[in-house]
């Protein structure tokens, strides 16, 4: 019997395994893999005890108070993304390159004799 790899057991435990049924069947039959799974679960269970501080019942209101003065009058519209500085700079760069290539082509072109 082929035992499950660590990768398969972790994927199963985290709910991202592709062969869930196969792994489940194997686990019910194989003590060694069950023990391995138990060791993985023990570590994850310990991590689950790490506390997250409670920011307080009023936290949402505090966040709003902090950000409200910094909000623009109107939220951004989808087309405004095209006018973001980095996009404008990129577009400007491309236009400059095209113009430079065109000018260079005009300057270096040798007149063709007929």
């Amino acid at each position: 019997m082929r035992h499950m790899r660590e990768e398969e057991l972790i994927a199963y435990r985290e709910g991202v395994a592709e062969r869930r049924a196969v792994i489940a069947d194997h686990l019910s039959a194989c003590e060694k893999c069950r023990a391995e799974m138990e060791r993985i679960e023990a570590v994850l269970a310990a991590l689950d005890t790490l506390p997250v501080p409670d920011p307080g019942a009023d936290y949402g209101r505090q966040v709003w108070k902090e950000i409200a003065p910094r909000l623009a009058e109107q939220p951004g519209r989808w087309w405004q993304a095209w006018f973001e500085p980095r996009r404008l700079a990129a577009a400007g760069g491309i236009v400059a390159l095209i113009v430079a290539a065109f000018v260079a082509g005009r300057i270096t072109a040798t007149p063709s004799g007929c």
Binding site: L50, P55, Y59, L71
Partner: protein, 218 residues
């Protein structure tokens, strides 16, 4: 229906629906955005804290996520879920913040002492059935330090993938979106994170089988 009644109904509808609150915000009603901020702040804080490992950075991430959310709200349009969307913005900003912190720490050349909450939040202190013995308390604090160290030793991508999958229950596609990777790469990152955590922490963690053998299982 009176104008006042209409106004009350509208406020109630916004309070119930994220989609409507987004729509109202886009129409210029800033109060509708306040509803979204107040509704989702706690869950975004939880994600941010788990990713950054400290309260100060987490609070900054929350504020920045909602600010960016407001600026980009037009791009959100009528997409499925505002909560998921703002989560993604927060996760992306938290990754930037973690990178920045790493650079700052590298410059200082001393490991940053994370300003986690004091012992009042320690799991061992929340056990009500028995007072922790000094030995148990020491073990618990040591384990907690080891866990924090192990999490801090993960790469930003690994920590993000682990937090989003294990603690926040996000889908692999969503994680892949934040990491800007393929689904299989995101899955692999979750695996690597758990593997690293396991190898770092297993010597400190008692399994159920060990607990049964020792007769200490609760």
């Amino acid at each position: 229906m009176t104008r006042m009644q209409q106004s009350v109904d509208s406020a109630q509808a916004i309070a119930e629906s994220d989609a409507l609150a987004v729509e109202r915000t886009l129409a210029g009603d800033r109060d509708a955005y306040r509803v979204l901020v107040e509704r989702h702040s706690h869950s975004v804080f939880r994600l941010a804290y788990r990713m950054t490992g400290n309260r100060h950075d987490a609070e900054e991430v929350v504020q920045e996520a909602f600010l960016r959310g407001y600026q980009k709200l037009g791009q959100f349009a009528a997409r499925a879920n505002f909560g998921t969307w703002v989560y993604r913005i927060a996760a992306n900003y938290a990754i930037d913040r973690m990178r920045q912190r790493q650079k700052e720490n590298a410059l200082r050349e001393t490991p940053r002492v994370e300003d986690r909450e004091g012992t009042e939040n320690d799991p061992v202190n929340r056990v009500q059935d028995e007072a922790p013995t000094p030995e148990r308390l020491t073990q618990s604090l040591e384990l907690r330090k080891q866990m924090e160290r192990a999490l801090a030793a993960l790469s930003e991508a690994e920590r993000t993938a682990f937090v989003m999958r294990h603690w926040e229950g996000c889908g692999i596609e969503e994680i892949a979106g934040v990491l800007k990777s393929s689904s299989s790469a995101a899955k692999n990152t979750v695996f690597r994170a758990v593997q690293k955590l396991r190898h770092a922490l297993q010597p400190f963690v008692e399994t159920k089988a060990q607990a049964r053998a020792m007769g200490t299982e609760s």
